[in-house]
Symmetry: C2
Subunit: 210 residues, 2 copies
């Protein structure tokens, strides 16, 4: 597998392929033609062929894609099976919702810590984990390797915590705040802007009304 | 304003422009060149010029974009100012997190109802709203116009509730479950797949390790 050749545009589409292929596996479907996959995903068959050609090895032409093979290949590229450990910063509603997000358990991500700065929350148990005070982060990170931190805290508290996390060796930040983050250190950042999706929805609703 | 000319690809980028322009307004910046905006957004200046040309009327060349004008134009197209009313189905952690999402209040969206099927939650107050039983949905929708419903409930309960909501006249569904929804009726659906963003992050983390 030569991952180096995969373009950024293809990478952006991979999580969607992974999702659809996972659905097919759940339904017990082990082969699918690019036309069928195209119809289900709303992407052209030629786009799919072009994207998936980056990975090679689908069996013979005319027999379609081997679903489990492709699913695993794409999962590998996305690092889904790398066993990344995750900590959640913020034990509010969003942090709790994410702690209970089934995707983590179904795939290879493992939540190993939940932190908050509110004394009334520290010590509480969420998903078998005792909520720790954020002041314990440095010690925690010295003892356990957390790869990814979920930032589920108010925007104004994000830059300070994020900087500390990077200093303590975090590799990826999954940022739910509107705070823009950038670092000199090599850290992966993925910002989630739920409002973008809401605005897309409201655009679609507005179009319906025309 | 002739919105009809705006392509689907441009529409997908609009929420991001709206966000960045909002940031600029917050910072008291009232004019920006396409080069500056390009640098901040990580999009080429020519892409920005091309996208924003769809809206016309930025003042003279060489003087950059007038931030508040563009912000309002884009907000209009996205339906942000249409005063859409929103109900939340599911008063669990995700539903509560979304009820407290500041974007709703800052922009023109108004949450007018929260529903759950658990008796221990019904009657509770969240953001000045009393949680109602989902069985009260039909009556509620007969009395008040809810435009958008947020589906913050488990996947297996989604299809049934979604079908009812459509029957009661909902126009848009913001779906946080993995359930795939499609309707014969004209309903706007926007699916949020947080896992796509997590996988993109884990891809970036995996790349760092190379």
């Amino acid at each position: 597998m030569s991952e180096k050749k995969v373009s950024a545009a293809v990478i952006r589409r991979l999580p969607r392929y992974f999702r659809y292929l996972g659905e097919l596996l759940n339904q017990g479907i082990d082969r699918i033609s690019s036309n069928e996959l195209s119809e289900r995903m709303g992407v052209t068959a030629s786009q799919i062929r072009q994207d998936l050609n980056c990975f090679g090895g689908f069996g013979q032409q005319g027999f379609g894609y081997q679903v489990d093979f492709l699913y695993n290949e794409i999962g590998n590229i996305l690092g889904v099976y790398n066993g990344y450990t995750v900590i959640i910063i913020g034990a509010g509603n969003l942090g709790r919702a994410l702690a209970n997000y089934r995707f983590f358990n179904r795939e290879g991500y493992k939540i190993i810590g939940i932190f908050d700065n509110a004394q009334e929350v520290v010590g509480e148990t969420i998903k078998d984990l005792t909520v720790l005070h954020v002041d314990a982060l440095e010690q925690f990170m010295g003892q356990q390797q957390a790869d990814i931190a979920i930032l589920a805290i108010p925007r104004d508290t994000v830059p300070d915590i994020a900087e500390k996390l990077v200093k303590y060796g975090i590799k990826g930040l999954w940022n739910y705040s509107f705070a823009e983050l950038s670092f000199d250190e090599p850290v992966a950042v993925e910002n989630v802007h739920l409002s973008d999706s809401l605005m897309t929805l409201s655009y679609k609703v507005a179009q319906l009304e025309k």
